[in-house]
Every structure is written in C-alpha cells, then in structure tokens.
Amino acid sequence: MYAVFRKELADHFNSRRFMILFLLALLAAVFAIYVAIQNIRSVVTADTEFIFLKIFTTSGETLPSFLFFISLFIAIIGIALGFDAISSERVSGNLSRLLSQPIYRDAVINGKFLAGLTVLGIIVASLVAIVSGLGLRTIGVPPNSEEVLRLIVFVLISIIYGAFWMALSVLFSVFFNRAATSMLASIGLWIFFAFFMSMIAGAIANARVPIDTNSSLEMITQNVQIAGAIGRISPATLYGEATAALLVPELGSLNPAMMLISTYIAGRMLTPLPFSQSLLLVWPQLVSVVALAAICFAVSYIKFMREEIRSI
C-alpha cells in the first residue's frame, strides 16, 4: 500500500489541480485576513479574552470571514481530490494492470484515500499557519495557549470535514465511470447541503410551527428547534457549528433555541467557555462528521472490493 500511497501523493503534488486549488485557497485566505484586520477593532473590546481567534472569525460588513471561506474551500478541495480517484484508473485502462500486480485490492483505495487525506491535511494546516502568521504580524497579539489548542482542534475538524467530502466523491468515482458525472454529483450534493438545507429546514419548521411577530417565545423556540434539528442532517451545518463553538468561545451553546434565548434575554453571552467545555460542545458534531466520512468510505470500499473486473 505504501507504494500506492507514495505514487498518489507525488501525483497530487505534481498536478495542476493541486496548484490551482492551493493558490485559490491561499488567495481567499489572505483576502479574508485582510478583511478581518480591517474590521477587528470594532469587535474587540477591553475585556475580549481571545483576540487572536478573532482573526479567523471577523467578517466585514459585506465580506465574509476566513471561517466562511475555509468552510467552502475545504469541501471543494475534498471533492477535487477524490472525484476521479477510481474512475480515472478504470477509464485509462490502468486498473486491470494495477490489479494484476501482487497487491491486495484494498491497497489501491486505501492508498489513494490516505494520500488525499495527507494532501488535505497539508493544505488546511498550511493555510491556518499562513493566516496565523500574517495575523500575528499585523495585529501583534500573540495567541495564548488555549487559542493554540483551539486552532489545532479546528485544523483537525477541518481535515475530517474535508475527508467526508473526499470520501463522498471517491464513492461516486467508484460508482460512476465518468469523472464529470462523479464531480457533478458531489458538487450537487455539496450545494444542496451547504446552501439549500437551511432553507428547507426553515420551510419545514415554518410549516410545522408557523410563527409571526406575535408568536410566543415558546412557539419561536419550537420553530428554531425543528429547523436546527433538520439542518443538522447536513454535514456543512455540523461543521459550521463545530468550528463556531471552537473559534468563538463566547458561544455558550449549540442548541439553536438556547442561542436564541440567550440573545433575547442577556444579549450576547460574553463569558467565554473553557476549552474543555467547548470541546464537549462540539463532540456530537465531530462524531457525526467522522461517522459520515466513515460510512462513505466503507461503502466505496465494499463496492470496490466486490466489484468484478469484467471484459467489456
């Protein structure tokens, strides 16, 4: 498997696809950091404890934050690394040659997946490192140890989230022979989860518990609860919640109703949670994303292992 892994890794690093994606992500990150630095003064007060994390989460009036950018890019990078993993081998005629070598069949898919994961890890880690470095230079406030911990966990979660999209696109590449079909399917699903899911969740919640300006707090809570529960089907929502809890320690709860109530009653909750509590908060989200990635990978693994090589 090591041979497959090494070859795939080398392929990734030599490919134009990798270069383009990395440059694009880098540009977006630098842009986001610029936005954050422009606006950071307005969000930081005298008693803000985690100034460094604000680099990642501060957005402009119309311009989004680094967190937003990276949540988009990780999914795209994950898809780009996996959508033709198996189909390209099959279409190019390499697969039967490869499988007639003395390697176990799963070495091919495992090696490919691990190589993709490594590339993903390198991209995410270096993006965060570059952004941290830039931020450190411009705002001049070093991160405290808790912020560093939070960032490390953030990188890990981001890699896992990327791994989910990669596993999904590998799954499609096992099922579809055409790379274009597999890519479209992956991108379509991503758009659905990232953009439409929240709308659908809102619509369903409104149908179940209609609310207007005169609704009681209870009704509103119920509505938000339903929308939140449905929204969590989407891995994009799970990732968004997890990263928000990590990078915005002031966020006391991920329960949408609680968040709503806290803004109603106390305005913004300003007391940040300790790291261990934030971790506890994101645990279910983290486990769900890992599980989704594992399911996708398992299905593609089984399908690939059981597939018969046929003469066409």
Partner: protein, 310 residues
C-alpha cells in the same frame, strides 16, 4: 515431462444468466505459446481474468503455477504478468516512471529495479523514449511498454490479450518477436487474438473457443489434419517423369492410401508422415525427385471451418 503451468477443470463463469465460459478444461505446459482463439465474446478475456483471480469462477477450479487464483491471488499475481487488451499507463508519468511504479508494487529493491528497467526498455526498443511522458508515445510503443511492464516482475507465465490490435505491421512484427523471445527464455505465454496469421506464426498450440467452450484444441498441424485433411497427411511430390510404374511403387508403400496425378505433381495421401519412405522409393526406382512438401494447413482455414459449421 514439462511442468504443468495452467490447469483448469470445468471452469465456468456465468454473468446473470449468460454463460461466458462453459466448463473449460485447459492444460498448458511450461514453455508453450498457447494461442487462445475465438470470436469476440467467446470468453477468452473472462478466462484470463479467472486465471488471474480478478474474477471468481461460478464453478470449476483453476490451478495456476500450483496455486488456486481465487484463494491465493497474490501468489498467482506474483508469477503471472497480464497485458490487458486496452492497456493504459499513467499518461503524465514517463515510461521509466511507469515501470518503476510496477517494480515498487512488486517490491523490487530500488537499484536492482533501475537496472532491470533500463535493460527491459532496451529489450522492447524504448530506451530512446524512456524519459518521455507516456502521452507522447505511439500506440505500438505503449504496447511494447506493456510487455516491459509484464517483464518487470519476471513472470513464469504471461497473458497477452490482443496485444497487436490497432498496430501497424512493423509494430506487430516487433511485438511478436519480443513474445517469441520471452518464450525462449522459458516464460509460458497465453496469447489471445483473432489475428490468425500471427497466432500461426508464434504459437505452438492453439485452442479455439466459441461460446465459452473449446471447439478445437491442439498443435496446429494436428488440428489442420483433423479438420481439413480428414486426419490424414497430404504430401505433394514433384518428380521429373511421373511414370505409371513409379506411381505403382508409391502406392505400394505401407500406409499410402491414395495417389492422384496432376500435370505438375503427384499428391499422396497417407496415414502418417511417410516423406522419407516416399523419397527412398522414388530414388530406388530410378526416378529423380525434384521437390516434396507436406501440405500445411493455414489456421485461417481451420478457424473458418469451425465457424462455418456453427
């Protein structure tokens, strides 16, 4: 007796109701070049895939180099090289890099592999383009690279699936030469093709497959005699004066069945190869022997005969 390299008993493969290979009994000995013939969809490739352990047989068993390919696929794949019909390489890598990858997959140590790759690229005549990306190579070159790719692992047995399709005549010659050389080095070859003249040129034995079954199998000359000559030898003789007496003498040789006379030659039909006896008889009778040749059966005729009967 030579070692048996491939042996199958009632090997059968069914794909949802359709039988691709139907009770095939194959028996190939070391050092043979076995020509595997048959129309498209006759089950040739499926058989090869089963022998490699890439596809599981529905029933029946196969033994390749003493291993069961379904149970011990890695052992079989270590000993068997397979050149698929639509062989592909990593287009962005050079010829050498592609072979290096195969060497790595076969756990060949680095330096040894490099030397071997250099040798092999010379053997298949690709040393000049060794460092070119595969996308720039012609089809014939890729096919030769495929042969080098098989040889990297030093196989005991090599499967070629239509290695010459879509290649110019010169390229075909090159490929056939390389394959013939491989056989001389002791590698057993199974050669799938419908290019009959090519099969005839290099194969020591052929099997004709139709609808998953062998319709004929054996060395070419025997096959020809069985199908075309009614199991008999036909010898064409040219003598200076075909006298009636001489013909009588020839008819008197034990085993000669019939002699027909035409203006240019005599055609002797007999049970066994009687060329030496005939020659002696003619010389003893005072005739002068100008030429003698045993009738060769072209594979094309044999093949056509089988498929006309269907």
């Amino acid at each position: 007796m030579a070692e048996i390299v491939v042996e199958t008993t009632n090997l059968t493969k069914k794909y949802d109701g359709f039988t691709a290979v139907d009770g095939l009994n194959l028996h190939i000995e070391e050092g043979e070049i076995f020509g595997f013939l048959g129309p498209n969809g006759a089950g040739k490739t499926t058989t090869l895939l089963m022998l490699l352990g890439l596809t599981e047989p529905t029933s029946g068993t196969a033994q390749v180099c003493g291993h069961n390919p379904t149970r011990e696929p890695l052992k079989v794949k270590r000993l068997v090289g397979y050149l698929p019909e639509k062989v592909g390489f990593y287009e962005d890598l050079t010829a050498r890099q592609n072979l290096r990858y195969t060497a790595e997959l076969n756990h060949l140590p680095g330096r040894e592999a490099e030397e071997k790759i250099t040798d092999l690229l010379t053997t298949v005549g690709l040393s000049k383009v060794a460092n070119q990306e595969v996308r720039k190579l012609s089809r014939g070159m890729k096919q030769r690279l495929g042969i080098a790719d098989i040889l990297v692992k030093e196989p005991k047995l090599a499967f070629f699936d239509e290695p010459t399709s879509g290649i110019d005549p010169e390229g075909i010659g090159d490929i056939l030469n390389i394959i013939a050389k491989m056989a001389k080095r002791g590698i057993t070859v199974i050669f799938c093709s419908h290019q009959l003249p090519q099969v005839q040129k290099i194969c020591t034995r052929v099997g004709i497959l139709a609808k998953g079954r062998f319709v004929a199998e054996g060395p070419l000359d025997r096959l020809g005699r069985q199908t075309l000559g009614g199991g008999r030898y036909r010898i064409e003789i040219q003598v200076s004066q075909p006298t009636a007496k001489l013909i009588e003498f020839i008819k008197g040789i034990k085993g000669v069945i019939d002699v027909t006379v035409s203006p240019e030659s005599l055609l002797v039909t007999c049970d066994t190869d009687l060329r030496s006896q005939i020659a002696r008889t003619i010389v003893d009778a005072g005739g002068s022997l100008l030429g003698m040749k045993i009738e060769e059966y072209s594979l094309e005729k044999i093949y056509k005969k089988y498929f006309r009967e269907d």
